[in-house]
Amino acid sequence: MNLNAGWASTGWTSTLDQIFVLVQHRVAELFPPVLQPWVAMILGVVGIVAVFPAIFALTTVLERKGLGRMQNRLGPNRVGPYGILQPMADAIKSLTKEDIIPRSADAVVHFLAPVVLVVAIFLGYAVLPVGRNMVLMPIDAGILFFFAIGASTELSIFMAGWSSRNKYSLLGAMRAVAQMISYEVPLLLSAVVAIMMTGSLSPEAIVAAQGGFSGVLPHWYVFTPWGFAGFALFVVAALAETNRSPFDLPEGESELVAGYFTEYSGFKFALFFLGEYLGMMSIAGYGITLFLGGWGAPFSFLAFIPSWAWFFGKLFLAIFFFIWLRGTLPRLRQDQLMNFAWKFMLPMSLLNLLVAAAWRFLGEWLGAGVGAEAIRWLACAAVLGGTYVLLGRAMLRRQKIGPRSYRYAE
């Protein structure tokens, strides 16, 4: 497949677009040919390991400032101009803090848990296309690789909760595992529609499939009924998968101290924090890749702006949206969480699969033309919208909560 289809630009814009790729090649060429692929690979890894934690550092301060503004506060503004150096102060603090391992904890597993978490999450970035030709490890089953790696974060969270020998940690870990496994299903199923439509598990192929323009508007999957539904479901499931508000039950401060990382301090705590934000960014990155056209420009006349700029711009928008949600929504209750996963998310994402299939075959049967296109669009949107309204009504139906009656205890 030609990944550069529809890409017509002049010399300097393409140089700017490929600047990081070119730098990587130039640096690699300084080494003997045997070492060149290795050097290129290491440069790519260094880039990922440097850039995403830097965004994480920036995100922590922007999140605190943003949340502050949403609550009519100022947020941190003491360290550096406008408090922008706050992450440095936080880093120094967490590095100099005493690293405590509880006496009854399983020391090895306690140490391994944050390491495994961060490593697993970093692996997810290996197949994420952050720009044109900018993917560390272009493998065909990239999306599958990401979901497989992403599922292993549950293991490290349970390791942390179990090895701490603390009731809050264990409860937090149990909640986390229950929640992440429940939402893994709709997350995967909502992503499947994009894979179905593209006919490939490769993230680059999915981005390329969304690369064209009709007039000035791009062919992003989010602009189709099944794409929009899939995107919305993906966002909700991603929030739950990354333990973000309103799905932050595993670390509910008011209930569980800090959840599964209650017994962690100092740099290990910072690693958990880093892992959480990196997980949020990588899942946002895949959401962008699957539904929002990856590194593609939103309008054809803006295609001259480098692809990586578009990717990171979208990533920042996604992060802002996550912060906005965190500033708005209260935490769900455990039963609401599970009900929502199994009674709403799962049926909707299964239906979305059917709708995507219908979209595909209706396109063949109805043929081309504006009328046929409109019929296909309206039919799919009506099915999804109607189901949304009906399921939503069922979800919102008041449950009768009376005094608890005991059968045997009385």
């Binding site: 949403m70 009519n72 500033g327 919102l396």
Partner: protein
């Protein structure tokens, strides 16, 4: 419909987010070390000693009666009484404290010392920035640190200080009036005594002359 509430909530927080950059009255934060709110008049935390005049140690109102030391519930006041006396505000010779320490790490700000003091010598302060590097010595305030002028007292608690001043002036006036009355009485008594002495002398003289004449007659 499902999700309506979420959209409403998002609109609300967006309004706050944008509004906090535009309108100043949304942000109620006072950035403390640089900005301060004016203190409420009834604020009070730890006791201090009031002095009159310019010399803090000479003008201390405390007469070292030790009532506050005895009444203090957590026993955080330590007083040593002087051996000599010095005149107080009405001019009467009084003892004074050679040591007056308050351990503010023990003080519970109950204000009982202020209520029991008969000399209006101890009052509640508003100073709250008392952090120190020495948690033992640094939190025991001696009489030099505790002594604050009556003008300062007027500054922090104007109404209360005015009442106290009026009361003290009244007392002083009463004492002065009493002294004056006593002086007048003493003067009157002296005059009366003098008069009485005069008459007594006359009688004595008369008696003497009578005796003399009697002698002569004999």
């Amino acid at each position: 419909m499902l999700g309506e509430g979420i959209l409403k909530g998002l609109a609300e927080t967006a309004k706050n987010f944008a509004g906090s950059f535009v309108s100043e009255e949304r942000l109620t934060t006072v950035e403390y070390p640089e900005q301060r709110l004016p203190q409420i008049e009834n604020t009070r935390d730890f006791p201090f000693l009031v002095y009159d005049g310019d010399d803090a140690m000479a003008g201390l109102r405390c007469v070292s009666c030790q009532i506050c030391e005895k009444e203090c519930p957590p026993k955080c006041i330590y007083i040593t009484k002087s051996a000599d006396k010095k005149p107080d505000y009405v001019g009467k010779a009084q003892f004074y404290p050679t040591r007056f320490d308050i351990d503010v790490s023990v003080c519970m700000s109950c204000q009982i010392c202020v209520e029991v003091c008969p000399f209006e010598a101890i009052k509640m302060d508003t100073e709250f920035e008392l952090s120190t590097e020495d948690r033992f010595g640094g939190l025991i305030l001696d009489r030099h640190k505790l002594a604050k002028s009556n003008e300062y007292y007027h500054q922090i608690h104007p109404t209360e200080a005015a009442e106290v001043d009026a009361r003290l002036a009244e007392e002083k006036a009463k004492v002065e009036a009493k002294a004056k009355a006593a002086a007048e009485a003493a003067a009157a008594k002296a005059a009366a005594d003098a008069a009485a002495k005069g008459t007594a002398d006359a009688t004595a003289k008369a008696a003497e002359s009578a005796a003399k004449s009697a002698e002569g007659q004999a």
